[in-house]
Symmetry: C2
């Protein structure tokens, strides 16, 4: 059986603070239809794709804050996207802010779902690596309060069978952490779907921030190569409520090569034919983990959180 599928990255331009979810969903349905017309069976949308990137604001009012989250998917607002998926037999990845009652309390996660070509949810992922701060930082035009508004994901890095292969998910800052790719690589991942919202001033240091686009691609390319996996990285981008965010959404082969890239800062669909078997030769040679990895030397990766003294 062939393991070639056409995949799409459906980049989104800015979402205004006042833009309703219905409007965002309509934009996504349009791109889902375009992707389907170009042969795609899987479409990757951005992180927090239903709203403006609200962690840039300090929101004191509880009701105002809670209004940014979703409780269940599909919701009335997102139902048209799920219906279009089923109608066209095209699956998708969608990022959103999740509110859930778990362990007897209300919890908030930065979440994504993988939806199959039947419009049903195959699996869920909750962002593990939350960037930014849990309190406003003085002197910043825009805050980055993900650590305030979300808990770190509690589902690990699961992978799911679908689309003829094994699919994993990441969200935004996860892509800078090689551990995230590796945990999925150790589960035989074939394709990693990944949405992001990355302000060009995300660190606040101009020397680092000037390299934001380079770093965006560097981490995804290395993660793809080192785990012999496709990576589809999709931006929400452009100037959103005054905050500039990077675009350059990409489809990356298991070679680490960028094989498709967005060229605008607007809603834009890019596609590539992904041979899920392309990673096989890597897995049989230099990245044959069973022959070449040496976990006895990796202990510090789980024993330490922060950097410390030489052991």
């Amino acid at each position: 059986m062939s393991r070639q599928i056409i995949v799409a990255s459906a980049q989104m331009g800015p979402i205004a603070k006042t833009e309703p979810r219905q409007s965002c969903v309509a934009r996504m349905v349009d791109m889902l239809r375009e992707a389907h017309g170009r042969g795609a069976r899987l479409v990757v949308f951005p992180e927090l794709a239903l709203t403006s990137f609200f962690p840039r604001w300090m929101i004191e009012d509880k009701d105002e804050l809670e209004a940014w989250y979703e409780e269940d998917l599909p919701s009335p607002a997102t139902q048209p996207l799920f219906e279009a998926a089923a109608e066209l037999a095209v699956g998708f990845y969608l990022g959103y802010a999740e509110r859930v009652s778990e362990e007897g309390r209300i919890r908030h996660f930065n979440t994504s779902v993988l939806v199959g070509p039947d419009g049903k949810i195959i699996g869920k992922y909750r962002k593990v690596h939350l960037p930014g701060h849990d309190a406003p930082q003085p002197g910043r035009t825009f805050q980055h309060l993900e650590k305030r508004y979300f808990e770190p994901g509690n589902l690990g890095f699961p992978v799911f069978d679908g689309f003829g292969g094994r699919v994993g998910m990441m969200i935004c800052n996860d892509r800078r952490w090689p551990e995230a790719y590796r945990v999925m690589g150790l589960q035989g991942v074939d394709l990693i779907a990944l949405g992001y919202n990355t302000p060009v001033d995300h660190t606040g240091h101009t020397d680092i921030d000037s390299l934001t686009q380079f770093h965006n691609h560097l981490s995804m390319q290395a993660g793809a190569y080192q785990n012999a996996s496709w990576v589809v990285g999709t931006a929400k981008c452009g100037r959103e409520e005054g905050s500039m965010m990077v675009g350059q959404s990409v489809i990356i082969a298991p070679s680490g090569e960028i094989v498709a890239m967005a060229s605008t800062l607007e809603d834009e669909v890019i596609t590539a034919k992904a041979d899920l078997d392309l990673g096989t030769r890597y897995r049989e040679t230099i990245f044959d983990f069973a022959r070449h990895r040496e976990p006895d030397s990796y202990g510090l990766i789980v024993e330490r959180k922060g950097a410390g003294d030489p052991i």
Copy 2:
């Protein structure tokens, strides 16, 4: 106190099978002097820098095989390099094949030493990630028998204080494994010295091998960036006994940017001024491990060696 030092990568062209160690050492002393003249305080030589890359041959004769290893450094043949280092007050990294009596038996490792500006050994590293095979593979013009001729390193990934900072070592194939960088990053490494011998046909698959130079840099750049460390990667390169090996030795900043690169396939010195504090801003923002890493989600990295089923 300033933490800026000029570092050098001293790339070597081919070493013939019959070239004596004294000749290789003389070539290295020449480069050490050139590097010193250009202000360098630390010079990184290649992996297995004292001989031709012998793992390309199946060697049946025990005495012939043992002749490729060193017992103690400095040896009579390598003494001039240690003396030049002390004379010039320039330290170095040197890769060599090590034979040692340990645990009541003779053992063989692919080893490197870090030598201080006083000509004394600061620390030793033994290559953890051995590529290739433990038996000859049919149909290959050149073998890659590192798994036959060496044991995996048993010293972990140590880092050593020196040169105004904290220095770690890798050898060749280690650079493709993000775990190696991370274990050193978790010990606050400032600079990673790394030598390699990488045949352009190292996997035997033309599609992968055609990307050897891209992959060489991709892994080192990502490892530097994701651990906010300098990386100095030094090739032995060119056509050695008929086997073509990649050059493009590099000095990489903690930004992941290549700031110096060799342009020949011969003996060549490149230098850069390395500010060991350049990684600090990365460590205080996006790569503040203590704030952002989530080791509870990384268990599989040490629990599994090879890839397996979804958990």
